[in-house]
Each structure stands twice: as C-alpha cells, then as structure tokens.
Amino acid sequence: MRAAANVSERGATVAAAPPRRPGAARRGGLVALALVIVLLPLGFPNAYFYEIAILVALNAIVCVGLNLLIGYAGQISLGHAGFYGLGAYGSVVLAAQHGWPVWASMPAAVLAVGALAFVVGRPTLRLKGHYLAMATLGLGVIVSIVLTNEDRITGGPDGMAVPPLALFGRVLQGEPLWYAITGAALWLAVWLALNLVESPVGRALRALHGSEIAAETVGVDSTRWKLRVFVISALFAAAAGALTAHYAGFVTPGKASFLHSVELVIMVVFGGMASIYGAVVGAAVLTLLPQLLTALKDYEMMVFGAVLIATMIFFPRGIVPTLARLAARARRRGDAR
C-alpha cells in the first residue's frame, strides 16, 4: 500500500526505499502531491488545461472517498453519482431559490447529503455483494429520476443556472483561482483519507474487507464502520458535486446518472483499489482519456470501451498496485544481484 502511494507520485524510483516509519511515507506522499499540484500549472499553456485539471481534481475527490468504501471496506456502490448530484443540486437550490449565500449553501447541502446517506445506508449496508450493488444502483437511479422529473425545483432535464461562489462580497471566478480551490480541496481529501486509512479505523476496515465474521469476532463493529465509511464517501461526493456546480455555473441531472456512477467506480478500479493515490491516478487518466478521444468523434465510446477492457485484462488490480508490484519485483531482483 505505502509502496503504491510512492510510486504514483514519482515514478518507480521512490519505492526503492522501504519507509522506516509509517508517518514518514505518508508525509512524503503528501508533500509530493502538494508539489505536483503547485508545479503543474507551470506547464499549462492556456485556460483549457486549467479546466481539465480542475475536472480531474473534482473527480479525484469523489474517487478518493469512494475508494475508502470500495477498496478498503470492500463495499461496492453503483449509486455515488446520486450523492454527487444531490450535493450539487442541494447547494444550487438553496442558493438560487432560497437566497442562501453560496459559502453557506455548500456545506449545508453536503451535510444534508451526509445525513441522507446515514439514513439510507443503514438498511442498504446490511446487503452484501451483488445485492448491495443493486440497492445502491437503485438509490442512484431514483435520485436521478427525481432530479429529472421535479422540474419546478431542478429545471428538469435541461438543468439550471447556478449562482457563483462569492466570498467577502467578491465573486470567485477564473480558472487559476478555481484550480487553486479544487487543488487544495483534493489535497485535503487525500490527507483526510490517508489519516483515516492508517489509523485503527483503517485496520478495522481492512479486517472487514478480509472477512466480516472474523472482524466481528475480534471486536470490530462491522455495521457501524461500514455505515461511517459510506457516509464519509457520500460527503466527499457531495462536496465535489457542489464545487463542480458552482465552478461550472450550470448543473444537469446527467451528473447524477447511473452512467456517472459507473464512471466513478471505473476510475477507482482502474487506478487501483485500496490505493488512495491510485484513485487520484484513475480519476486523472479517465478524465483525460475522453478529452483525447473526442478527436475520434463517433468512435469515442467504442475506443473507450476497448481501452477499459484491455486495461482490466493486463492490470486486473488497477494501474498503481500493478506498477507497484512490478517495481517491488525489480527491486528484489536488484538486491539479489
């Protein structure tokens, strides 16, 4: 896991030194991530690159949260776009129709989504495997249908305009500023997730993933932990959703669709389950890929599907863990020589 964290940041080189203390590796990864976020814009020739980078950061926030649920706790969710959409619409509706300032409507919406996740998570997380997948899928689809149908509140399938985020009477706009906001939010999300994973909570989650019954016999309250991680991942998704809406200035129900839920899960699995930086890499690659594929026009979906199939065949555990394993093997071979 920790080796994986290093590899994603600096190529295969850093993995060579096994960390002496757990804290050191975590700090190293976080410093590296901060450097990447700060230095990346130096290579941006125009605003379009900022836009893409912002999208990557926003998707990555959702994926880091979702990976806590899927990769660490081993609970699948095919409905997280629902939370993402509710976070977006919640904040927009509070701001546009009830006159809330956006700096207040965003956290309020995110907390409301967290509360909702707590309520629906209770019966949902009793389910296992494919039944859990079905239930979360159902929740997501229902949210998306409600957002599409309640057009007096949500603007229906065409979506609605979003009031901008203003702070101290100043409207926050411009790609560089939003890049700074989303970059900071991503770093914060990664920091929170790493802390969570390397605390006793993380060990409890991994125990759950291994065997729920075994975890319970050693005193892990599996229902409670699963529910907590579910709520945390919903909070991450809602926060990213609200940020996306106020950045883009527009929101449509497509953000809450089943396809978006699936995209998010693909990003997590593609990057590597149970790897925080893997989630970031997965989000980055799969946000960039469609941008590159737009040149293919009609062939875009076909090629995207083919790339996905090929990647999962050759990297069945996701990119970052597979590369980390290869790096570790190369290192062992180097040591033996």
């Binding site: 699948i76 039944y131 159902g138 229902i142 699995v269 009609d298 076909m302």
Partner: protein, 294 residues
Amino acid sequence: MGSDWLQFVAGGLTAGAIYALVALGYSIVYNASHAINFAQGEFVMVGGMAAVALVAAGLPLLLAVPLAVLAAGVVGVLVEKLALEPAQRSGRADVVTLIIITIGVALFLRGLAQVVWGKGIHALPAFSGSEPLALLGATIVPQSLWVLAGTTLAVLGLGWFFGRTLTGKAMRATAHNPLAARLMGIDTRAVMRLSFALAAALGALGGVLTAPITFTTYDVGVMLGLKGFAAAMLGGLGSFAGAVAGGLLLGLVESLGAGFVSSAYKDAIAFVVILVVLFFLPGGLVGARRSERV
C-alpha cells in the same frame, strides 16, 4: 375501470416478459462466473438492431429473426473469448474486475452500434400486422402475444435444456461447484462460453420480439439492462424460476404504478420496489437463505 386494469396488466406482462428474458441472461452468466454481466442489455440491442438490419437487407422476417438471435449468440461467445477469458486466465482477476470488463464490453458494443447504425430510432415490422385486438374492453397489439408466446417457449426450452440434457446438467453442476465439476471432467471454460451464448441469445430474443413495439436505438440496452438486473435480483440471482417471476412481477408493478400512480415516475417504481424487497428480504424473493462461510 376493469378494462383499465386489464390494459395495464397486458402491458405489464409484455414488458415483464422481456425483463424476464434479460434476467435469465444475468442468472445464467452469474451461475457460470459469479459476475454480473453489465453487457446483458447490449445483447438486447444487438438482437433488435441485427434483425432490423437483416430485414432492411431484404431478408424475410421468418429468416431475419432467428439469424439475429444467432448472431447475438456469436457475439456472446466472442465477448467471452476475447474479453473475459484472457482476464480469467491470468488468474488475478476477481469478480469486480470481471464486472468492470463487462461494462467495457457494454460501452464497446454500444459505441459500435452507434458507428454502424447511427443514433437514430429503428423499427422492425410487426410479426403479424399491427391491427390492435380488442379483449374485454382492453386493446392489445398482436405483437404482445408474440412476446408472451416467444418468452414462454424460450422458458420451456431452457427448462428442458437444464433439466434433461447432459450439457444443461453440466452447466448446473458448474454453477453449484466449479471445482467439483472440473474434477468430473466438465469443461468449465466451454460452460462459460455457452453461458454467454445463451444469455446473449435470450437477450436478443427479447430485443427482436419488442423491436416492433418499443423500437430500438443504439442505447436501448441501458435501461433494459438495469431493469433486467433488478428483475434477476428481485427473484434471487442465479434462480431461473426467480428470474421469470421477478421479471413478470416487475413489469406488472411498473405498468400498474405508471397507470394508477405516476407515469413520470414509471422507471423509478421498479427501483423503489426492488429496494423495499431487498430491505426486508436481503436474498430476493426466491433466493436461498445461505449462511456465510468463514
């Protein structure tokens, strides 16, 4: 009032029959691989589209329909051989990886259909005229009867296949315990391939039968796939009787709900039902109450 009911029930059974065919596909693939095949809805699309294309090429309906189902079966085998088998052979692919691969397959097939047939809506001529039949005050399109008859025949055929033939029994044995099945000399790879062929053919049959009623587009498989999945879960994944019951039940509830409650929320009703059922019966209606192995 009574005719309203009959109308909704007839519509519900027609839709439910298709859900049942799709759900059967999910269960067959699940039994062979323990994975959910999210490309199942795309097989429905492939069937409908292939039939439309064959009819447009001048083939009579009587020939186009079986050919389209056969073509989808071949697509199913190719999917298994080219996408799933390489992943499974590496031995490092778990169920989630397989599921993501099937999602990739779904996107690929949907994208391919979009390239070949465009984004337009295609219609297949009805099998025996489109003059509606009056039945106790309700009007039913003849194609509905074709759907019900076709589904009934397919289900009976499957029952015979799994109950009476050696191949069918081999597939059930593999579902029960793959390792023991291999030790008995069953080629579980071939079972996997056959399962995909069967699932694809069943989905395609559904697609061909409904194409004259609901028309078909490159992305018709998305919602049908989800509803079929819901139907399979409702009946208990892996159970054939459950898949049929779940499909019909889902179609009925949806049709009655759309008729009497809200047509805008027609698609949501199916998912509300499945959530309520899962919350109270976490293994589906027919699902076995299994205890977890440690």
